[in-house]
């Protein structure tokens, strides 16, 4: 039992904006009142619901490949030394599993979603998530280049495709469906990409990226998944890709969708020299279409490691930069590319990217539909979120930074003209309440009675400039996990999983395909529920 008294509470889900209010906790949940137990005197502090990261890359084969490829980063990274409470690990651009949990919790985040999981290597992802302590977790499963699904779309068998998608989500023990460069990663296996939404994907005659996007969004809604289709659009990172992104959003009309790392998809211009921000055009469309949510995918200057299932883009990035490149092929399902990268403030393209991320966060009106991410570790590491929050809250600081950009870059963005400043309530919305709602996690991101007791408590007036860097207390599931800057308790997080309804007969359709096309036998393919610790399964009855 625990009581937090005297703190200013920011709880957007319940419309509470800085009201001094006591919070009582029992059995891991927020309750009306408790008798006895520890009392935290939170006078002079602000109380937030624990952060929810809707899009990050923290576990799995691709991330591990990136870790192996970047020993130079590990040598510079913060080391977590072994203590009786804590395991050893490394921070840096691609933190190790245990360190990932410590770093997220140490920043006040208590729920994270690993955004790109190939089903074929989902076992690996779950093993790593099990070793990512403290935070609760969920996975989005890669589908938009799965050749069994695409073959069914080619044949016009939408109903069977829906059964297959449902079966695959449960096989991977996933929480949502992810689409990355729909059709493009399949085309990459032919050395090609999918640049236009309306042209057939290489190897198919009537499957286009638009068809994949519309079909998956429809299937996800039909299955009643709590989180809509999680979409990484075609033409990521390319000047002029605003046209593709707007066209994609039109394709999605009538369905829900979450637009991932929208910053990477909001560029104008014809080439790298003429690249400019088109955040305003994206925000204008987005503001008028409530079926969509998005996360920023903002970048910060400094070292990053780009990791994505978008294989063709990574090859292009390697050719552009000359940096080392890793490429993985995941049989019939997807691909993966890795390129370590450094964003430089003096570089025109990077400066525009930096501005676009912030512009989107400022130009999209509704904080319930745009969330704070850096597409970790692609745009910047998640542990740098407080730097972005600082920029969102202070227009003058932003303007000073804009003045330091190359003159050409300043003329390609409107960031310096934006006066909006985020309030603390807005910050609580984009870091917690909003993403929790978009994920359909009813007990996260809020501080009402019955909610999970996940809280972050910060000094109202911090010593340094960054309010959100060092929480005074972090409480996860009712336990104090961070206190006075130290990890105090090593709790295990839960894993959120959905079980959509499907007809068991679909297995008889899939089994021969596996025997013919996969290196893994059908029986060995699904992740067994027993392998997961703390599985929190939600049965879905949406069918048809």
């Amino acid at each position: 039992m625990l009581r937090i008294t005297g703190g200013k509470v920011y709880d957007p889900a319940n419309g509470i904006d800085g009201v001094v209010k006591d919070i009582s906790i029992a059995d891991g949940r927020i309750v009306a009142a408790v008798d006895g137990g520890r009392v935290i005197d939170a006078r002079g502090m602000i109380v937030f619901p624990g952060g929810v990261d809707i899009h990050t890359h923290v576990a799995g084969a691709a991330l591990n490949f990136a870790r192996a490829m970047t020993p130079e980063n590990h040598r510079q990274a913060t080391a977590f030394l072994h203590t009786p409470e804590r395991r050893a690990g490394l921070g840096g651009q691609t933190p190790t599993t245990f360190a990932t949990g410590y770093l997220y919790a140490g920043m006040g985040y208590t729920t994270v979603v690993e955004a790109a999981v190939p089903i074929l290597s989902a076992k690996h992802t779950h093993e790593e998530l099990r070793d990512t302590p403290i935070v609760d977790k969920g996975c989005c499963v890669l589908m938009a280049n799965n050749e069994i699904v695409l073959d069914l779309l080619e044949a016009g068998e939408i109903e069977r495709a829906k059964e297959v998608v449902a079966w695959l989500i449960w096989a991977a023990k996933g929480y949502g469906v992810k689409a990355v460069n729909p059709g493009g990663v399949t085309a990459w296996k032919w050395g090609k990409d999918a640049k236009t939404l309306s042209e057939p994907v290489v190897g198919y005659s009537n499957v286009t990226p638009a068809k994949i996007i519309a079909s998956l969004a429809h299937i996800v809604d039909q299955l009643g998944l709590p989180h809509p289709l999680h979409l990484h659009c075609n033409n990521l990172g390319v000047p002029g890709n605003v046209a593709t992104t707007l066209e994609t959003m039109k394709v999605l009309e009538g369905n829900r969708a979450h637009m991932a790392h929208l910053q990477f998809h909001s560029y104008g211009g014809a080439d790298w020299h003429t690249m400019r921000s088109e955040a305003a055009a994206i925000a204008e469309y987005f503001n008028a279409h409530p079926n969509l949510t998005c996360d920023a995918g903002a970048i910060l200057f400094g070292n990053a490691v780009t990791i994505t299932a978008d294989g063709p883009w990574q090859h292009l990035l390697h050719q552009l930069t000359g940096k080392k490149w890793g490429n993985l092929d995941v049989e019939n399902e997807t691909g993966c590319g890795i390129v370590p990268y450094t964003y430089k403030g003096s570089n025109l393209v990077n400066a525009v990217q930096w501005a676009v991320g912030l512009e989107l966060l400022l130009l999209i009106d509704d904080p319930w539909r745009v969330f704070l991410t850096t597409d970790h570790p692609n745009g910047a590491c998640f542990w740098r979120y407080p730097e972005i929050i600082h920029l969102l809250m202070h227009a003058d600081v932003r303007r000073e930074r804009v003045k330091k950009l190359p003159a050409k870059a300043q003329s390609r963005t409107t960031l310096g003209d934006l006066d909006r400043e985020y309030s603390l309530l807005d910050i609580a919305t984009i870091t917690s309440a909003g993403p929790a709602r978009a994920l359909g996690l009813a007990n996260k991101g809020r501080l009402g009675i019955g909610a999970d007791a996940d809280l972050a408590i910060y000094n109202e007036k911090p010593d340094g400039e960054l309010l959100f860097r060092y929480p005074r207390y972090v409480i996860k599931g009712g336990e104090i996990v961070v206190e006075e800057g130290e990890i105090r308790k090593m709790s295990e997080g839960r894993e959120f999983i959905v079980q959509p309804t499907y007809d068991g007969a679909i297995e008889e359709y899939l089994r021969p395909l596996f025997q013919q096309y996969y290196t893994m036998s059908f029986e060995n393919y699904p992740v067994e529920l027993e392998r997961l610790e703390g599985a929190d399964v939600r049965q879905l009855d949406g069918h048809g």
Partner: protein, 270 residues
Amino acid sequence: MITLTLKERTAVPLEAESLSPDVTANLSCDAVRALPVLLGKHPYRVDEFFDVEGEAGDELAIRGDAGNVKWIGRGMTRGKIAVEGNAGMHLGAYMKGGTIEVSANASDWVGAEMSGGSIHIHGNAGGQIGAGYRGSPKGMTGGTVIVDGAAGLEVGMRMRRGIIVVRGPVRDFAGLQMKGGSIFLLGGAELRTGAWMIRGTIVTLKEVPLLPTFAHDYDGNPVFMRLMARHLQALGISIPCEPHEGTYQCHSGDSAVPGRGEILVWRPVG
């Protein structure tokens, strides 16, 4: 000056990055005794391995067989370390300034990824002098390393700027993937010198076997060699550059990458 005398050589390497003038300059002798070192994964105090004497200052002397003491002078920016005996791996790695002098031999990774300062080894050195660590895009970006004896593999691997001089013979892959800077091999080299070099200069006073991806460019006495000779003279190293002494045969490569580096082989008159 603080003097540290190693009591006995440890069975496993001792990691002693605290042995740097940047750390010790303003510390009392007692505070230096209490500095941390790692033996395996366990932390210990400096005085569990060293006798410590003297007054604080910018100078540090290390005596005894420190051939198993790693990371001496790591990242130092000023002052001087005199190692009277052997030094272990990673001596002066990441250093930015100051000087290190070793009276006997040093191990691998001397001056790895250094950006300034100078290191002088009077005995032999190991491999990877001034190199980039595994995964790093570049090695040393400035400073000078002089080895009076022989050196090992991958001398100057991925170096970007700076000067390495080795008086004795070096082993394979000198200047591997070199991106700039200069390597002077007064005693020649074994195989694959300059493999994958993109830019930079390797000067050898003895014949070396050249890779087939290096093309003969010209024979002569380029002006920059005279400038280099004068610069090295100040460091106590003499290299020939006058036409009456001989000529340099210049080869460019490595065209396998493709690169625009050069290997200059000295051909004395007669």
